[in-house]
Amino acid sequence: MGIQRAFSRGLLPLVAAFGLVAASGPVAAWEPTKPVEFIIPAGTGGGADQMARLIQGIVAKHNLMKQALIPVNKSGGAGAEGFLEVKAAKGDPHKIIITLSNLFTTPMATGVPFNWKDLTPVAMLSLDQFVLWVNAEDPYKTAKEYLDAVKKGGPNTFKMGGTGSKQEDQIVTAAIEKAAGVKFTYIPFKGGGAVATQLVGKHVNSSVNNPIEAVAQWRAGKLRALCVFDSVRLPYKNKVTETQAWGDIPTCREAGVPTDYVMLRGIFMPAGVSDDVVKFYIDLFTKVRATPEWKKFMEDGAFNQTFMTGKDYADWVAKAETLHYGLMKDAGFLAKK
């Protein structure tokens, strides 16, 4: 019956895509039957939290899902609490989690037993950038000038502020140290906003804040952006400060610091869920990405808008895991066994 109906609609381009689903049972695809828990393995107010709550708002405003999407912060143990919960919820189709780099760094640094392979990858939403910032009153105009000064000053003289310990900010710092042959004193703070303020107040010499964490101070002329840790420049051409757009910031490679790093903002869910369920969420996030609110958020935060699903996504994550293992090992951040 299902096949007949599908063909009788004559939706030719779609038939091929839906044929399998239609043939295997009722036409209606899987849909959540109760509210979906959206776990945030980080505290309220941070980057992942903002993104998750924006998604909740978009889903509610555009009525993209019949059931509610409910964000829950599970930030204990550098996010391990959230990941362990999803790992334990095997087969539960009403639970999704947004990840940041702590998907890799937390188990490696703390030895808490979980791995991305314990979860089902759903979709990569975007990649978050890192930028090397200094105080605008300092004389350094380029990454090279700054790092030369750091080298000249001797090890541990210059202070790098960052969010958390043995997480992305410190990994980027370690990567710079390796690439430029310098040594910073890394000072961990609770959140990205605090780091930006500490840099404006000259309590640290530089930071590797995400764009959204430092943009306000950049626009106000308090901070200077030296380079961005991506392989290509950002695509955004609208002027953010009086003279510069995100696209005007050179990559660190161009600036003579051969290193790059981007952070995953992606969605995972528990293992053991059916393909229909994953497909539902992929469709949902495809719709979210098409809304004007999402596009504006992407541009404001200067995100890299790469979108991946299925095998591409899993392959990317596997590669990122190897990369993190290498970086953490080099920096001596791995948990002692």
């Binding site: 939290d49 310990s165 107040g201 306000a216 101070q217």
Partner: protein, 498 residues
């Protein structure tokens, strides 16, 4: 007088019927959130944030900030009536507020608390209106050593102020520090003190400890005393508000001092919780009735409430002008600003005049709306105490359990709450103070981070705490507070020798 013009423009933005309605809805929701322990202002706003995405940013922030005011007001209610602080910053309010309720003066205590809150907030808003740019710059002076100095001062202003021997206070405080250390160590990124038990990695949340130590502990005590609940004689008289107002002006000095402490702590940003503790500690030291604090002195309610509200309000200033939140709730509001497409930071005042001044005007109006709502409800709240204890006690326990569960959605937290309840009971029986434990549990983490960040900066040189005038004078003040009991003894014995 540019500010006055801007402010009046702000009033014209805020004073639409729709915004006024949002204000009252917000305050009412906020009071409810404040009353329920565990839900908390930050969680409450986070839950309601998505509702506002379809609104104008100005209307949205008016509603959310009114929830915030409501939560600040509401936190005092359960502290006074049941000795259960609904919010961290209401802990100090229990010290004198609860004894007042037990003496049948619940209405007076509530009125005092609400009025003080209002005065604190009002003071802070006036400061924000006229001194915003100046004050925002001051916040930039605060690096890790300065933060640690502020926490140090808070701890020191607490030691030696209690009726209990200083060593008992220090012992309770150390236990608090030990509990605060459980979980992830932010400086090394390692888990510690969890003994291989992953359930413990989220650490001991302050709210669970407070709900247990104060709420459950109190119920255990009352049960021992034969199910009597001494607040039952509360007189319910709407005129109590006016009668209380007549008594309040004589605490003007405490009020003013608490406003200043609160504003300062809100901006720096130490936050409302240390502000309320520090203000209580200092009021106790300075007041002629200091020795009677803890037995139901209205002044002991004025000090923490004024400071907490002033700090809570002032905490919004660094958020608007610098993009650093002064409190967890402000952090969630900050997320809201970004989602509405507003960029907090130095340019917000220039680029989004309507929004900023609308928000500031709504601070004035929201607080007035809040005061009206809570004051009209004073007799209603006080009447709760008339319900027989055998009925109200199970209700309290259920609310406590729900509150404890809400914090992390974890069952373990309910067991921990009960455990803390037994500990609270033991503490009271052995005459150990609970407040220092709670204070250390709340601020221990931040104080430790600030200390270790400072040590990293100076490569282990302790003199960094005296490296400039600002940090040096705060540290010196702290040491003076710490040694005050010794110094006053010394002074007394010197006088006697003469």
């Amino acid at each position: 007088m540019e500010e006055i013009n801007a402010l009046f423009h702000g009033f014209s933005v805020a004073l639409t019927p729709f915004n006024l309605l949002l204000m009252f809805v917000g305050v009412t929701l906020g009071v409810l959130i404040g009353v329920l322990p565990g839900l908390g202002g930050a969680n409450g706003i986070a839950i309601l944030l998505p509702l506002t995405f379809t609104m104008e940013p100005t209307s949205a922030v008016i509603m959310l900030s009114c929830i915030y005011w409501g939560a600040l007001f509401g936190g005092a209610i359960t502290s006074i009536l049941f000795n259960i602080p609904g919010e961290p910053w209401s802990v100090a309010t229990t010290f004198d507020g609860y004894p007042m309720a037990q003496q049948g003066k619940a209405g007076e205590a509530l009125t005092t608390a609400f009025t003080s809150s209002f005065i604190g907030a009002f003071f802070a808003v006036v400061m924000i209106t006229f001194l915003a740019p100046l004050v925002a710059k001051f916040a930039l002076q605060f690096g890790p050593p300065e933060f640690f100095a502020v926490f140090f001062l808070t701890f020191c202003s607490f030691i030696g102020m209690g009726k209990e021997p200083p060593f008992k206070i220090v012992a309770a405080m150390m236990l608090g520090f030990a509990l605060a250390a459980v979980g992830i160590d932010t400086v090394t990124g390692q888990l510690r003190l969890i003994f291989g038990w992953h359930e413990l990695m989220r650490g001991f949340d302050f709210l669970i400890a407070v709900i247990g130590l104060f709420g459950i502990g109190e119920i255990l005590l009352s049960m021992e005393e034969g199910l009597s609940f001494s607040g039952r004689t509360a007189k319910i008289d709407p005129r109590i508000v006016i009668a209380t107002w007549k008594k309040l002006p004589k605490f003007w000095l405490t009020s003013l001092r608490s406003c200043v402490i609160g504003c300062w702590m809100g901006i720096t940003p130490g936050g409302a919780t240390p502000a309320s503790f520090m203000s209580y500690g200092i009021a106790k030291r300075m007041s002629p009735d200091g020795a009677k604090f803890g037995t139901g002195m209205p002044e002991g309610v004025v000090a923490p409430e004024t400071a907490a509200h002033a700090a809570g309000t002032a905490a919004l200033l660094p958020m608007i002008s610098l993009g650093i939140p002064g409190s967890p709730t402000a952090a969630v509001l900050l997320g809201g600003l970004l989602i509405w497409g507003l960029q907090p930071g130095p340019l917000l005042f220039v680029e989004q005049k309507d929004f900023v001044w609308g928000l500031i005007a709504s601070m004035y109006l929201g607080n007035i709306a809040g005061l009206i709502i809570v004051l009209t409800c004073v007799p209603l709240f006080a009447a709760i105490l008339r319900v027989p204890f055998s009925i109200i006690a199970p209700v309290i326990i259920v609310i406590c359990a729900v509150g404890a569960y809400t914090v992390h959605n974890a069952m373990l937290d309910i067991w921990l709450m009960l455990l803390f309840g037994v500990a609270g009971y033991a503490f009271k029986k052995l005459a150990y103070p609970l407040a220092p434990l709670v204070l250390a549990l709340v601020l221990g983490d931040q104080a430790e981070s600030a200390f270790r960040q400072a040590m990293l900066m100076s490569q282990g040189d302790v003199s960094i705490f005296f490296s400039n005038g600002l940090v040096g004078s705060i540290m010196a003040l702290g040491l003076l507070m710490l040694l005050w009991p010794l110094l006053s003894k010394l002074k007394a014995s010197l006088l006697r020798q003469r």
